[in-house]
Amino acid sequence: MTDAILELEEITVRKSETLLLDGISLTVSRNEFVGLIGPNGAGKTTLLNVIAGFEPFQGSFRLFGQRETGKRSRASRLRVGYVPQLFPLDPAFPINALEAVLTGLVGRLGLFRSPGGKEKEKAMNLMEMMRVDRLAGRPLGQLSGGERQKVSLARAIIQQPEILLMDEPTASLDSAVQKEVLNLIDEIHRRESLTILFVTHDFTMIPSAMKRAVLLDRGAKVFDGDVDTALSGDSLSRLFRYPLETFEHNGRRFVSYG
């Protein structure tokens, strides 16, 4: 009996003539926090999209012990949360922050049932945890990037997933806001006991709860192990094909370009 909730074997994704993922195998256990790290074009987002059910693939994929094919069942989707990169939203789009959080509950509520007082209270509690409760009535498109990503985290958690997939959730944010969002992600991992897969190309901004890193390069897995070894100067120099050194100061990782 294993507590693995995600098992990928020889996952390959090909678009036209381009090989995006080349036989990736990966097993993730319950409550693990795993980073998928690599340069642009490494296949990180493609791998996350396979796991999220957005991308057709070849190979074997078991999620919660069930074999997954191209079509994802509703029950299975409900167990997998997704936090995307900040995406463009028309500032005039008619949705406020609270309504955006509640969209995370739509699938769980099912057809013909609207969110009531209990659901709204839950959404407000999550928004309070993310420090955006005072923005509940504000149009989402008028919030800052950091505020929108906090709303996005609350939207994903209200779904009550067992795995949370995060696709560069701190990209396009300034450093202070990145750190704030990363602290919230650490808090989510601790409070909700979630399994998290976190995609990033920015190895200086890593949540402290991440203990395992998978390095990807050109669609292939090149390392799978503890995060400190993965983010050592030697490892990153090989990955980025550029001499790099890393050092830590006050719990933050810095990089020096050789």
Partner: protein, 287 residues
């Protein structure tokens, strides 16, 4: 002028035209909310031309133009839906090709029509004053279906309009909602060929939604404002065309533009949106 209008309203064809205007305005404007918020105007224009081409085909084959227009719309929806899900091709290019192909097909059909082309021209520009009882019945059924769809699946619709991918990831049947929308677009466009026509209907598939976008952040109000703008444009356009003896379809479209322009000028959102523009930079589209 009031007496003139009251007298006109006692005439059955005008009564039918007014009812059709309300139904056309309501159905097209509800769809315009999706077209505007999901940024799919090319899909709207392609569907309207598919209906037009199908209806011309119907005239050629001597079958009901609504039925043939609807069938071609469904075929177009069956092609456009999967196409818009593809990530390896630019849907805009294929939509552009499809739109021009359908237009070419419609004009080819009109060119080889041996009998009078008035019927085909009516499908292009619409003819509110020559609507039959069955045209009104079809329009009523389809408008009712669309209103029910919006009312019953409001929360799913909001979720899909916000982001199809996020909706899918949280267990919303987004593909079913999206395809239902495409099919309803086909049905609404086909049913309205007789009212404002296959060319001018595109204006009503965009302008009421664009009008509401200027005025509210509340999605329920958005639907209501769009419907009011669409119905207002259709009814006022009809009366203007009656009073000044103008083509009805063109009057409706010009009134829709005037309503949009008025909303744009008084828009309370435009000023506040300037501060939100920063949020849209340096971001990746996940829709």
């Amino acid at each position: 002028m009031v007496e003139q209008l009251v007298e006109a309203l006692s005439c059955p064809p005008i009564q039918r035209a007014v009812i059709a205007c309300v139904l056309c305005g309501a159905s097209c404007s509800l769809l315009s909310v999706f077209v505007v918020l999901m940024k799919m105007p090319l899909i709207g224009v392609s569907m309207s031309h598919a209906a037009f081409a199908g209806a011309v085909l119907g005239l050629l084959l001597d079958v009901n133009p609504f039925a043939s227009g609807f069938v071609v719309c469904l075929l177009a929806a069956g092609i456009l839906g999967p196409l818009s899900d593809r990530t390896d091709i630019a849907p805009e290019n294929v939509l552009g090709i499809m739109f021009s192909f359908l237009m070419g097909l419609a004009f080819l059909g009109m060119g080889i029509l041996t009998r009078t082309k008035a019927g085909a021209l009516n499908l292009m520009w619409g003819s509110l004053l020559s609507l039959s009882g069955s045209d009104i019945r079809i329009l009523t059924v389809i408008t009712t279906l669309l209103v029910l769809f919006v009312a019953l699946f409001f929360k799913e619709i909001r979720s899909v309009m916000f982001s199809r991918r996020l909706a899918a990831s949280s267990g919303v049947p987004e593909k079913a909602i999206y395809y239902a929308l495409l099919f309803l677009t086909g049905a609404v466009v086909s049913a309205n060929l007789a009212t404002v026509g296959g060319l001018l209907i595109f204006a009503l598939l965009v302008q009421p939604g664009a009008t509401a976008l200027q005025l509210t952040y509340n999605l329920k109000h958005f639907f209501l404002i769009a419907a009011a703008a669409g119905i207002g444009a259709c009814v006022s356009g009809l009366f203007l065309s009656y009073i000044f003896d103008l083509p009805s379809g063109a009057s409706v479209v010009l009134m829709a533009t005037a309503i949009f322009a008025a909303a744009f000028i008084v828009s309370p959102k435009r000023r506040s949106n300037k501060s939100g523009e920063r949020n849209t930079t340096h971001a990746t589209d996940i829709r």
